[in-house]
């Protein structure tokens, strides 16, 4: 983990409100693992005051580049969406732990809404390792889905789902996934990221079947390095419940150890 100045190489609005940001920072590009994130300084004033955390959506150690995907939801992301090419962004990273694959096939990735970013990085890295991959990607409506073909190399089977049926299969992502399981999909391991209710539902459903499921959690962060205890989530380990830090012990946890 280091404090770095990452250069903005490219910033494009992929879709209304969704941005793709490519940064040049060789250290981060070389060291970031799928599931990890960086803590970015947006602006230089007192509002927004805190840094903002973003998952690494891709890294190319050869080129020294790092890829982020973010959605404009407030002041911080608005400012970030106005960065200019060549500008330096102050960031801390790579932060947190990462997804760890057991190698069991096929790997099934489940992304709810904004949770797609780290799973794109994971998908690329598993694909590069020659793994068989399924990626389920759901959102409320078609406008909230990113066109994955822009970020993913061909290979993984991608299934889209929207709650209102405006794209892909209609229904909650959990339901769409259930149907796939019922239709004969046998996951070797599961990786999920997205809103907490989605992850909780997934964990609940999975309890019976018991596939190994790793979930990436989010919490509001201040320091993002483990110093402030601000990003606590309740985790059951070794028979006791403790507040662990999403920024240090996480963001990736076993679904069975999270106290939902």
């Amino acid at each position: 983990m280091k404090q770095c100045q990452a250069r903005v190489l490219d910033l494009v609005e992929v879709k209304g409100g969704f941005f793709s940001l490519t940064l040049y920072e060789p250290y981060l590009a070389a060291t970031a693992r799928p599931g990890q994130f960086i803590h970015l300084r947006v602006g230089s004033g007192v509002a927004p005051l805190l840094r903002r955390p973003f998952s690494v959506a891709g890294a190319d150690p050869a080129k020294g580049t790092l890829h982020l995907l973010f959605r404009c939801v407030g002041e911080g992301t608005k400012l970030l969406s106005r960065s200019r090419e060549g500008e330096l962004l102050d960031c801390l990273g790579p932060l947190g732990n990462c997804f760890i694959s057991s190698g069991a096939e096929p790997a099934v990735l489940l992304a709810g809404g904004g949770g797609i970013a780290p799973l794109i990085f994971l998908a690329e890295s598993l694909r590069a390792a020659g793994r068989e991959l399924y990626l389920f990607y759901g959102a409320a409506k078609s406008a909230d889905l990113l066109p994955l073909e822009q970020f993913l190399s061909p290979g993984p089977v991608v299934k889209y789902a929207t709650e209102d049926g405006s794209a892909g299969e209609a229904g909650l992502l959990t339901a769409v996934f259930q149907r796939a399981l019922a239709a004969g999909l046998f996951p070797g391991e599961l990786f999920a990221c997205g809103p907490r209710p989605f992850l909780a539902a997934l964990a609940q459903q999975n309890q019976r079947r018991g596939y190994p499921l790793q979930v990436s959690l989010e919490e509001r962060m201040a320091c993002a390095v483990g110093a402030c205890q601000g990003c606590a989530v309740l985790i059951r380990r070794n028979g006791r419940e403790d507040y662990l830090r999403v920024c240090r012990e996480g963001p990736v946890f076993q679904s069975t150890e999270v106290v939902w």
Partner: protein, 303 residues
């Protein structure tokens, strides 16, 4: 090269820049990002006698130019600190200030006694922003008599420099400072966070898991400066000033208002190098002003 060393009663520091309790953990996390030796001193996260689990999430929310937190004093407890953290902290060549809190005066005293037996602790800071459970939840900082008794009991148990860290959520922080001094504290830390709340409009309930929390950051700086100014004017006690310090000019405001040292809290989260940057800024300021040492500026705004 002008000098940044300061003297706060019995406590001497090479530079007046401390970490604010609870914002720098036990130093470990930031050790990989910076040279801890650049700090004037490290104030630990507040310890309690027994480990504390802390408050349910969310524990943080950003507010206009501020940060609202409700960590709930999550900490591993005194015993673990003595066994696992203190030995490591001693290795850095750095004044170490241990912050403690309790639900009762007895807990403070018990901790002070245990810490007094240890080497390598430069000072003890009493976090007095907690409510006294025995006295029906009255804030220690809010009741002068209670405060004086508490401090005087700790005073008997602890031989080194004693710092009283006061809550700003009182009618008169000057009265609290006087009581702390009467009890035997040589140094005042001011201020802890202001009580605050954010409502999650979508959910129609308080956003923090603990409902309310403590406000820190630049938003509260004017409030903190006024309190430091008042304490200095009324008591002349050495003060460690804090609340929203981000840059050199902010630290200078506190020093001119009467703070002999300052602490940086929220700013560490924004820029981990805030303290070394301000140290360099203070050097430059003194040089440009043709001053030999910082001490000359302490309280200079009162003249």
């Amino acid at each position: 090269m002008p000098f940044l060393n300061v003297k706060l009663g019995p406590l001497e520091l090479n530079t007046p820049l401390l970490t604010a309790s609870g914002t720098f953990g036990f130093g470990e996390e930031y050790a990989s990002l910076m040279q801890l030796e650049g700090l004037g001193g490290l104030v630990t996260k507040t310890l309690t006698l027994l480990p504390r689990a802390g408050n349910p999430p969310p524990r943080l929310v950003e507010t206009p130019a501020g940060l609202l937190n409700a960590i709930g004093l999550q900490n591993p407890g005194l015993e673990h600190f003595l066994a696992a953290e203190l030995p490591r902290l001693r290795q850095w060549n750095l004044p170490l200030i241990v912050s403690i809190a309790g639900d009762t005066p007895e807990e403070y005293v018990q901790m002070a006694e245990a810490l007094c037996r240890e080497k390598g602790i430069a000072a003890l800071e009493l976090n007095l922003s907690c409510p006294n459970v025995k006295k029906g939840g009255v804030l220690f900082s809010a009741d002068a008599a209670l405060l004086e008794t508490l401090v005087s009991r700790v005073r008997l148990a602890w031989e080194g420099p004693l710092i009283a860290k006061l809550s700003p959520n009182v009618t008169s922080i000057v009265e609290a400072a006087r009581a702390a001094a009467a009890g035997g504290a040589e140094i005042i830390s001011a201020i802890n966070t202001l009580r605050g709340m954010v409502i999650d409009v979508a959910a129609r309930r308080p956003l923090l898991g603990n409902l309310s929390g403590g406000l820190s950051g630049p938003a509260i700086r004017p409030v903190a400066i006024k309190m430091v100014y008042d304490i200095y004017a009324a008591t002349g006690l050495p003060v460690i000033g804090m609340g929203g310090i981000m840059h050199t000019a902010d630290a200078l405001q506190f020093i001119l208002a009467g703070a002999a040292a300052v602490a940086v809290g929220t700013a560490n989260f924004v820029e981990p190098h805030t303290i070394p940057q301000i140290a360099a800024g203070l050097h430059q300021y003194l040089e440009e002003a043709g001053l030999d040492n910082l001490q000359e500026l302490v309280g200079a705004a009162h003249l």
